[in-house]
Symmetry: C2
Subunit: 217 residues, 2 copies
């Protein structure tokens, strides 16, 4: 699904140049989505940013929407790799919070979540787009769920709160925080939030000591 819209012939020899052009367009699409939003991400705006001709958008991707979806694929793949590496050695809730704070700061810097937000909000403009975007967000949920299971599985809260629902909530919060922060430009406020969350996790961890859950070892 990550390379849709390619023209009929695929093999041959000089596919390198073609792949490079596609990459340039995808990168330009990402930057344009960040700077001017979904409604500002036209074929002309994107191709101009890439220093390429406007017709190439349709040659390689068939439509602007397809290019934007390819851009979403790119950031999604990128973030998944980064997230996976980040929680590799994480086991406790407190460590997870540290990683979450670091990741969120990164996302603010790179603006990659903005791409996601713009695509979700822009999805309502054309009928089929919503479903395409939805399938591309799927990995975010499963990833978040796995991270929660891995770190909070032994917590007594796990029996009250299904991790899939918590994951859904976390992703929603992630998107909402990104939106508001992008709007008012106040990065520090949202970053201080993670400090409070860290305290809260510590506090709840202390409470949990009173009600030890199922032993896993």
């Amino acid at each position: 699904m990550a390379k849709s819209g390619s023209p009929s012939k695929v093999a041959s020899g000089s596919t390198e140049r073609s792949a490079n052009t596609r990459r340039l367009l995808v990168d330009a699409a990402i930057e344009t989505l960040k700077d001017h939003g979904f409604s500002g991400a036209s074929a002309r705006a994107i191709s101009e940013r890439a220093g390429l001709n406007q017709g190439l958008v349709f040659y390689h991707f068939g439509s602007v929407a397809n290019l934007l979806l390819a851009a979403l694929d790119a950031v999604s793949d990128d973030r998944m790799l980064r997230f996976s590496a980040a929680i590799e050695n994480v086991s406790s809730p407190s460590e997870l919070m540290d990683v979450a704070a670091k990741i969120f700061r990164e996302d603010l810097d790179t603006g990659h979540v903005t791409v996601l937000v713009e695509m979700i909000a822009g999805a309502s403009s054309s009928p089929g787009l919503g479903a395409e975007v939805a399938t591309r967000i799927g990995p975010w949920f499963t990833f978040t769920k796995d991270a929660i299971d891995k770190t909070f599985g032994a917590s007594p809260f796990a029996s009250i709160l299904p991790s899939s629902d918590v994951a859904f909530t976390i992703v929603a919060l992630f998107l909402g925080l990104e939106m508001l922060t992008h709007l008012d430009g106040d990065r520090e406020r949202v970053l201080s939030l993670f400090g409070h969350a860290q305290q809260l996790v510590t506090l709840l961890g202390a409470f949990s000591a009173f009600a030890p859950p199922k032993e896993t070892s």
Copy 2:
């Protein structure tokens, strides 16, 4: 700020008809934002929905952006009235959660929060729009903060978590949940979330009994 873009002369006699036209356009703008998003909310699409001429958008509001901001004002005022009435007789955290669930269900039905989301996401399309949208969201923060102070003020968590930060988080979560729910169309999932939140509040309330805070009476 709620009635910007009016033409030079304001007083006179037959202002009723004018006010009615503006209301029709604002209502149509709201519906169009909900159905087709920011990028689909053109002067033509809105005026056609209102059954009015396209030129009236510019006569009454000066630009499409101004009409959209007027629409945001309308839903914001509407929601604030509704929220205020809803928490009028609320005093405990548990009651607040009940009200929050009811309100969120209402918002899903009316789609009013979608308007907010679309305007935030669309704000990046033109330079000045972001600031205009930001000022209109201000009341949502102060309202949420007041509701938290009113119900959680006696909780031991209040000393750890500044209510303004919690309010910011709640609003972000609200927006994110609306976005995701609007995307995949699964209303039940998000509504079940409030059930879990209710349980969590009850649980934390029980914990709080171990560490009684500052007495207010």
